[in-house]
């Protein structure tokens, strides 16, 4: 089966619990040009943050990350350059959206305490392993079921639907 390749990148740390999808993808940005919409990502928590992200960066977050609205917020994280996400725990609709919009996501309790912003970190979905490359510390989270890892590896739900002739 296809696996999501392990990712390594620079860590951004959002330690707050219960960051909601309105904060990632504010309604106010829906009708703005793409660049302006992207600059609003998590801006109510850290103004200006989205402009600092480099492609390939990894977001490390707190509990129940992505709570609230079912809006396709993972696509906005991807658009600003986030290549993967590791959090203490993840809200369920948001986790499904990460899978279906192909943003690698790993739940790893304890990830916050082992990460300082700017560290180089890596995540391996196949083994559920989060590693802080800078400090050499690793931690294991629950492994995302194979079916869901395959969806991410395939490029998301729409890529699969296209391949199957539905769209």
């Amino acid at each position: 089966m296809n696996e999501v390749a392990p990712l390594t990148g620079r860590a951004w740390v959002f330690p707050q619990d219960y960051i909601n999808t309105d904060a990632m993808m504010p309604r106010a940005g829906y009708d703005l040009p793409p660049k302006q919409q992207e600059s609003l990502v998590l801006s109510s928590i850290r103004p200006g943050w989205a402009d600092l992200v480099e492609p390939g960066d990894i977001l490390v977050a707190g509990r129940n990350f992505g709570t609230g609205s079912s809006r396709p917020a993972p696509t906005l994280l991807r658009r600003v350059g986030i290549a993967g996400l590791v959090c203490e725990s993840v809200a369920e609709i948001f986790q499904r959206n990460c899978v279906s919009y192909a943003l690698p996501v790993l739940e790893c309790p304890g990830c916050l305490t082992m990460t300082t912003e700017g560290d180089t970190v890596s995540l391996d979905l196949e083994t559920g392993t989060f590693t802080n490359v800078t400090t050499g510390v690793s931690r294991q989270g629950p492994v995302l079921p194979a079916m869901l890892r395959q969806t991410i590896a395939a490029g998301g739900a729409y890529a699969m639907l296209r391949a199957e002739g539905y769209m």
Partner: protein, 429 residues
């Protein structure tokens, strides 16, 4: 197994399911809102060519109706085109339905024991009808519509056991705020309601709770198919359904007892609901001046809410500096509110009664907040930026609290506005 676990077992063909298990299921109903039909990479990037069970699909236009922009108009057009071409069961066009969660209950689209999916996070609303219902993302909904299947991770459940009756002047929203303050987030869990206290709660009140439990970060939210519900769905003869009860030996992560008599009028402070609630007297004591008051949404745009709001403002005027917006949850609620005179009472007091739409609740149109503005709402969320500017502040209370605040111009206790005549309303709501 719990109620939701049994529904998942039935629909996946498993004899039993356990928390943590991933099951693949068909569903009885898939609902898509207009929000799916925007031509964008993360909405519906290209038209659908074929679907598996069009008779299970309903399109309910609600998020941006009537179209406030050409972009929205195009999404509506595309929704109609898909419904026509692919033979969906029903499309509730602008003016013919209302907010999807209300329409699902009103038109009995979801039935006891059924499994229901919709692209909106407040889909747990339909749990009031003993359906296992929850929101999925748009891509998951599109995949479900196409392939006829989706997946669920089976959750453990917590149970709220209700006893007693609500004190005069308190409502279902106050029960929710009581739960949010006492128990906080129930992330990762389903919720079941049971107990003798349910008997005193109307369908509208229960539906406020089933909808608002999404804000406890719950997954499925289930109510029992008691006599009220069975009577309500007894008119449905064209579709089979089988109510679900929890097994006597079902396991719960926690069972919480709630005496409804302990519920008091409460207000959630801005930006969060869980563990962020104060008694109304505390909020009123701080002289919080408001710019906007809003009664509406899938949670609290119900007939009972319009009735309460009208009773509070009857013969009074909204404070000069306040905009009081009232958005019925459906066109049927709107019509009934017109017939009963609530709309006239509200408009005479200076309120605006809008058409049914997600509107101000989702910050898309019809009541967007500006920087620095303060709103009290009986809708679903008070997240920072939810209703417009991230610099606005959103408080939440019952529709009675919102209406009383609209009259005073400051967050206010509704008790003085509810006389003996309204005692009856409290019982019905």
């Amino acid at each position: 197994m719990t109620m939701a676990q049994k529904v998942l077992a039935r629909h996946s063909g498993e004899a039993a399911v356990v928390p943590g298990q991933l099951v693949i299921t068909e569903v009885d109903l898939v609902v898509m809102a207009d929000s799916v039909f925007y031509k964008a990479d993360d909405r519906l990037p290209t038209d659908l060519k074929k679907v598996s069970h069009p008779e299970r699909v309903a399109v309910l236009l609600d998020h941006q109706v009537p179209a406030p922009s050409v972009k929205s108009a195009l999404a509506h057009k595309r929704a109609r085109e898909h419904a026509d071409r692919l033979g969906f069961r029903w499309l509730a066009d602008v003016g013919r339905g209302g907010i999807e969660h209300q329409v699902i209950i009103e038109r009995k689209l979801a039935l006891p024991g059924q499994l229901v999916a919709c692209n909106d996070s407040h889909t747990s609303s339909a749990g009031v009808l003993n359906s296992a219902a929850r929101g999925l993302g748009m891509a998951d909904i599109v995949q479900l519509v196409c392939t006829g299947k989706t997946y669920y991770k089976v959750s453990p459940a917590v149970k709220f056991r209700l006893t007693g009756e609500l004190p005069f002047g308190t409502y279902a929203k106050d029960i929710f705020l009581h739960i949010a303050q006492r128990f906080g987030s129930q992330e990762g869990h389903d919720i079941e309601f049971e107990g003798p206290g349910l008997a005193s709660l109307s369908l509208d009140s229960r539906a406020t709770l089933s909808t608002m439990c999404t804000e406890l970060n719950a997954n499925f939210v289930m109510f029992p198919a008691d006599q009220l519900i069975m009577d309500y769905v007894s008119t449905v003869t064209d579709r089979p359904f089988e109510p679900v009860t929890a097994d006597p030996d079902a396991e719960y992560a926690a069972v919480y007892d709630i005496d409804l008599g302990d519920v008091r009028t409460a207000v959630a402070l801005p930006d969060a609901l869980n563990k962020n609630v104060v008694p109304v007297g505390t909020a009123a004591g701080e002289k919080i001046r408001i710019d906007q008051a809003f009664v509406g949404s899938c949670a609290n745009g119900k007939l009972a809410d319009l009735e309460i709001a009208a009773a509070v403002v009857k013969g009074r005027q909204i404070a000069d500096h306040v905009r009081f917006l009232v958005t019925p949850a459906s066109q049927a609620v709107y019509l009934e509110a017109v017939k009963r005179g609530y709309v006239q009472t509200l408009v005479e007091a200076g309120a605006i009664v809008t058409n049914s739409t997600c509107g101000a609740c989702s910050g898309g149109h019809m009541g967007v907040l500006g920087p620095g503005e303060v709103c009290i709402t009986s809708s679903t969320r008070n997240y920072k930026g939810r209703m417009g500017s991230p610099d606005a502040r959103i408080y939440m209370g019952s529709s009675a609290t919102v209406a009383a605040s609209a009259v005073e111009g400051f967050i206010a206790d509704p008790a003085p506005y509810l006389d003996g005549a309204q005692r009856q309303i409290g019982a019905q709501a």
